[in-house]
């Protein structure tokens, strides 16, 4: 077996040193009836080329993004990732290092995390950021719990524009919690959350651009929340939008959670992704997850360490701020490298390109009979209402080789009012020909 270094002779020699008759003697604590009790009927070991053939056959049954016009978004976005990013993250020293618990021999990872935290803080306009969380959805649940710890209040209000999966994750985390209020879906971008803030409210959660693509007014929301002593949690699923839209920190956000996948990370059928979490300085000690900080070594040289770890589970055990043990290190590295390659100039151009393509898409869709664009504002994503049920329409488009967006009913199956709605995204990868193909196909299907 190519991954196992011992020869049979070495195994025997080692057993001799141990003083064990055979390998089973080392498993003597295992109850006899549980040890190798049954033939598992699993295939035997296999050479690389056969494993590769098997995996390629599976991959070939999937339609990948490059196979044709692609407009699927709704919380995960298809962007170009520079070749440099994937090359660098596969270097052994990044790929096969553990969590940097021994800082003297982990300065690469630690300095990268410090740079990553700085990038996230600048993007969001917040004071501090952590070293990443699993993804945007679990990050939102963590932010909600954090707001409760800070305010010592129970009530959480989720906007109707929050990604339905994110809402469901928060629901699962706060199971049976009477203090969680989820507002009904708001595909038209209608904002009603401000009426739900009271003296018991820990936080309101607003996504912008929201799930349906609308840009939400954070300043008004922040003022209304703060007037009652509540916090504003801002959720962002398309982090590229921050290249064009005002930083939430400048508009009064208290905690910002974002899905960072768009920068540096492939679609990967939903994971691994990258949760970003940033907040105000005064809430540092309530922030979940790992944090990297600057210090000096015994010779006075600048260096970095994981810090404030007393909040974490391995020390606080049942009093920890969260049960999180890992972050999303390699995805954070990919994000950080891609962001360094872009820089302010590149990131701004990327955001403009996304918005420009989305404007073209919206204009073209609006001209298709049977299609109504619901958005007056958006970044790179929008919602349309079609004259036919959306789920079946999307299937028919797929048969024509076009991945035409996400039918809202896939995420909100119990809400009949959304059955004719489709959420579509454009990115820098969307071409004029893609848009023309989609509109032509829609026109034929809806005729």
């Amino acid at each position: 077996m190519r991954y196992l270094p011992h020869s049979p002779a070495e195994r025997s020699e080692m057993l001799g040193v141990i003083g064990a008759a055979d390998i089973d003697a080392l498993f003597s604590a295992v109850p006899a009836r549980a040890l190798k009790s049954i033939d598992l009927r699993l295939p035997a070991h296999s050479p690389e080329f056969l494993v590769e053939a098997h995996m390629r056959a599976l991959a070939a049954k999937n339609r990948s993004g490059a196979d044709g016009p692609f407009f699927v978004g709704a919380g995960a976005y298809r962007h170009h990732v520079p070749a440099t990013v994937d090359h660098l993250i596969q270097r052994s020293e990044w790929l096969t290092a553990y969590t940097p618990y021994q800082p003297e021999i982990s300065q690469g990872t630690l300095q990268m995390l410090f740079e990553f935290q700085t990038q996230v803080a600048k993007l969001t306009g917040m004071d501090v950021a952590n070293a990443s969380l699993y993804d945007g959805s679990t990050g939102t649940a963590e932010a909600v719990l954090m707001a409760r710890r800070i305010t010592k209040r129970p009530k959480i209000v989720l906007s109707g524009g929050l990604h339905p999966h994110y809402r469901d994750v928060v629901k699962a985390y706060l199971k049976d919690d009477a203090d969680l209020e989820c507002l009904t879906a708001s595909p038209e971008g209608q904002g009603d959350i401000l009426d739900h803030i009271d003296e018991q409210t820990a936080a309101i959660v607003i996504q912008t651009p929201d799930f349906y693509g609308h840009l939400r007014n954070l300043r008004t929301a922040a003022d209304a929340a703060h007037a009652k002593g509540a916090l504003l949690i801002v959720v962002i699923t398309e982090v590229v939008s921050l290249g064009l839209l005002e930083a939430p920190g400048a508009l009064g956000a208290d905690i910002v959670v974002a899905e960072g996948q768009s920068i540096g990370n492939a679609l990967n059928f939903g994971g691994p992704y990258l949760g970003l979490l940033a907040t105000r300085k005064e809430f540092i000690r309530q922030m979940p997850g790992r944090i990297c900080g600057e210090t000096v070594d015994a010779e006075g040289q600048r260096g970095f360490v994981l810090t404030l770890s007393t909040r974490e589970q391995h020390i606080r055990r049942e009093k920890a701020t969260s049960n999180i043990c890992t972050n999303s290190g390699l995805c954070a590295l990919a994000f950080s490298i891609h962001m360094a390659l872009l820089g302010e100039a590149g990131f701004t151009r990327l955001a403009r390109l996304n918005h420009a393509n989305a404007c073209k898409l919206a204009d073209a869709l609006a001209a298709v009979p049977g299609v109504e664009v619901l958005n007056t504002t958006f970044f790179n994503e929008m919602t349309i209402r079609t004259s036919q049920p959306a789920a079946a329409l999307i299937e028919r488009l797929a048969m024509r080789g076009i991945l035409g967006g996400v039918p809202v009913s896939r995420l909100e199956p119990d809400d009949p009012s959304v059955s004719n709605l489709i959420v579509l995204a454009a990115t820098e990868l969307t071409t004029d020909a893609d848009i023309a193909a989609l509109c032509a196909a829609l026109a034929e299907e809806l005729a």
Binding site: R285, S309, T310, I315, R316, K319
Partner: protein
């Protein structure tokens, strides 16, 4: 003025009906460099043994329990900016909070300095 101790290494310095609570030199030595202190809120009503504050070192976080029942009247704000005061001077500048003693009889159940010294030998 008397000072009493708990087996959990808190001291309480009693002056009239007020007690000043902190951790002993032995405890600060064992914890190492203190990096953060979570102070109680003024006005908080504590029962004997309630968690009143948390002191954190780099590698550990320890709850500070109320040696006796009472109401928190004052907290040492200096510690927010300079938690190292607990290491430098645990019994004077490094005090943590003050409490009005609800039941003077509870003081008598605590250890005196000799008994505490014996405990930490």
């Amino acid at each position: 003025m008397t000072t009493k101790f708990t087996p959990d290494h808190e001291y309480i310095r009693v002056e009239g009906s007020t007690g000043t609570v902190g951790i002993t030199p032995y405890a600060q030595e064992a914890l190492g460099d203190i990096v953060f202190v979570e102070l109680p809120e003024v006005g908080k009503v504590l029962k004997k043994g309630d968690e009143a504050a948390v002191v954190e070192s780099v590698k550990a976080a320890s709850e500070i329990y109320a040696p006796v029942a009472g109401t928190v009247t004052e907290v040492n704000q200096e510690l927010s900016g300079n938690p190292g005061l607990i290491n430098a001077d645990p019994e004077a500048g490094g005090w943590i909070y003050k409490i009005t003693i609800a039941d003077a009889a509870e003081i008598e159940t605590l250890l005196d300095s000799d008994a505490y010294a014996e405990l930490t030998l």
